[in-house]
Subunit: 421 residues, 2 copies
């Protein structure tokens, strides 16, 4: 078995279960007596040589990570460019790894992070530095290829379906004399995975949600308004789920906010109120809208058990793969069967994953563009199965989430400034 | 013991636990062998003689009401005016009661409903119709006087505190390179009860929420922005909870939407995004905002156990009071002690409750106007204690909420139109 230390880093938007992956990584390292560090605030911390000494954390705190949302060691939105453009930064990473005898680097993120992982493996090879790089999947967007699903997605899917169900019971109670149209905006910049999962809230005709607006289906105002009116007239109310990524026929986001994040992605928000106001102005119905925003991806209190188990499993596998000498791979989830639902973890090369977005299959969207199909249900339903309720404090009534010490390892290199963050 | 039937009606905005009260009412009636009806869509159904025959509902469905959010029989926003102005409607109600031998009327709502209950008791007396009217407390606004708290409030308080905690863990993970200010808008038109409860999310200095904006404290833009900046500089990020009822120094709602509901109340919404955009434009921080809207008051999956127990207890007491011959009273919650937390139900005259709003005590708001005091914590904390997780379906992964038949009793009177609804 290889000698050396392991560095784990979280990347991109965090989830309700990314810390379950972290927990698995740390517990596996402890079993294998591998010294493990976590980068503070993701790759930024690796560049700055800000390494959290995981040996300093209590066993109970590490166990509690398994049910704690957010990114316990800090994550970041910071994309390394190509090896040519960002050569100095890649070399700096290897320098930090060399200084701390990091032989295993586990990078827990989405598409961009898989790409970065691949490049780090390449530069290590070029520089002759012995390193095993494992990409570890995580993203509520569910858009990584190869893997059946991405840890984090099942829990946001469960939160969304349960929230639509509950809020619709509320609206249904009041629709005779109050709100007739309820609009809920969900995340999903480029693909309607989360919007589609909302469809799990109802199974029979006229169950909510009555309308789902997907990024994949250009917004047809007339068809939408006709459907809202028909639903209100037949059912009494109408629940609409709209993806933040909804586009018009010209391919523009309906709610273009004009700001961009560190990756150059447009920052969205506000299509929910926009759709609600459209309904009011064109049909005159009383409306309410909700934008759960970060609540949906941090709702560990309502995590899917399947998702929590898969998040733990990929972390554990990542350590096993690294110690077994694998490099530039990602532990992915393979669905073996639907009935009964069975899955396993297997390695996939990062070259098949980096920078490739998995789109929502066309056959998941109903012919009218406003709902999901039976095929979608077959795929999504197992992912939100089971509950994994965190322990609660009997006095405060709040979940008992982990508190870490986050003690940094003493630096061995000169200070490093990240210029154009 | 009196003979006759019982009519139960839900009123106003529904909650995560109003059906627990309904469950208690129905179960108590069954024990006492009293025939019970529920008005379809609240008082509107009573006027229209749309009475749901509760004898037709299965025992299991009634039991499931205890953990089902929304208003199972339908609620409404429909306010009866004074006895002089709305005499015909009050007389119609008595006519319906007489036709169906309703001797007990249980009206489950807030301030307005307590007032209506009182007037119905008065008109019955005037008309010589033997009727026992019991107001049953319910409102997420927590603004009924006399009672220690209102069923429905504890659960929205728990949802809000847990959501603030979870979303803040998310923001804290990412603040180094992403969102620095997170704004969450909560309900509470006239009083900051829900906003204050959000303060339970954190206990130590610099725990989130860092800033609470109460309807009781006129918005001071300069002080707010200074506090946001200082918090971001010291903590790295800032979580802001803002009540929908936030007002400026002139007493105007910051987010005046311009529409009004059936009670003449202004319909609010949107102060969350407004505050977030203010932070962006004045301080330049990247922001996110969330407006959970109906999600917060329907989140039965995260109900407070104390709240669910109290909701059941007031329903049960309401039936006992009615059968014991009481009239124009409300079962209220009296807090006996904080350590250990003990409470009991006792009757209070509706005259002490109708149309009186309980304000958030001044000593619950910190001196700087941006947080809560120890006195507030002592009051709020027991209300969010304990979990009362609904059963989940192992296949769908969704809570198993009640499905009722809602069979209407055959009408005995001529059709009745509600003109100016």
């Amino acid at each position: 078995m290889n000698k050396g230390n392991l560095l784990y880093a979280q990347s991109g938007g965090v989830t309700a279960v990314i810390n379950a992956t972290a927990c698995a990584v740390i517990e596996a390292c402890r079993r294998h007596r591998i010294r493990a560090y976590a980068a503070r605030n993701g790759i930024i911390g690796a560049l700055r040589e800000e390494l959290i000494d995981l040996a300093r954390e209590d066993r109970a705190a590490i166990q509690a990570l398994r049910h704690t949302p957010g990114g316990a060691f800090g994550s970041c939105r910071f994309k390394l460019k190509s090896l040519e453009q960002d050569r100095a930064r890649y070399e700096r990473l290897i320098e930090v790894f060399r200084a701390h005898e990091i032989r295993y680097f586990l990078y827990n993120g989405g598409n961009d992070s898989a790409d970065t992982s691949l490049k780090i493996a390449q530069i290590a090879h070029v520089l002759g530095y012995p390193l095993h790089v494992i990409g570890v999947p995580k993203t509520v967007d569910n858009d990584l290829p190869v893997t059946d699903t991405c840890p984090g997605f099942g829990s946001v899917a469960k939160y969304t379906a349960v929230s639509v169900l509950e809020a619709s019971l509320d609206v249904a109670s009041m629709c005779e004399s109050s709100t007739k149209v309820f609009v809920m905006e969900v995340m999903g910049r480029h693909a309607g995975w989360i919007a589609a999962a909302a469809g799990l809230a109802g199974k029979r005709a006229d169950d909510p949600p009555h309308i789902i607006l997907f990024p994949e289906v250009p917004f047809d105002e007339a068809a939408f308004l006709a459907r809202v009116r028909a639903t209100v007239e037949r059912v009494g109310y109408c629940t609409v789920v709209v993806s933040e990524g909804l586009k018009n026929a010209q391919g523009q986001f309906l709610a273009e906010a004009g700001t961009r994040d560190a990756f150059g992605h447009t920052q969205l928000g506000g299509v929910g109120p926009l759709i609600a106001q459209l309904v009011k102005s064109k049909l005159g119905y009383k409306y309410h809208w909700a934008v759960p925003d970060y609540l949906q991806r941090s709702a560990r209190h309502l995590a899917s058990k399947v998702d929590a188990l898969q998040a733990y499993a990929v972390g554990q596998a990542a350590v096993e793969y690294a110690l077994a000498g694998r490099n530039a791979v990602m532990p992915v989830i393979r669905r073996i069967s639907n009935k009964p639902f069975k899955w396993k973890i297997e390695p996939a090369p990062l070259t098949k994953i980096a920078n490739i977005e998995k789109k929502l299959p066309k056959n998941f969207i109903a012919g009218d563009g406003f709902g999901i199909t039976a095929a979608a249900r077959t795929y999504f339903e197992p992912l939100i199965r089971g509950e994994d309720t965190p322990p609660y404090d009997a006095t405060t009534g709040l979940p008992k989430y982990a508190t870490l010490k986050r003690v940094l390892v003493r630096k061995k290199l000169p200070a490093y400034a990240i210029a154009d963050k």
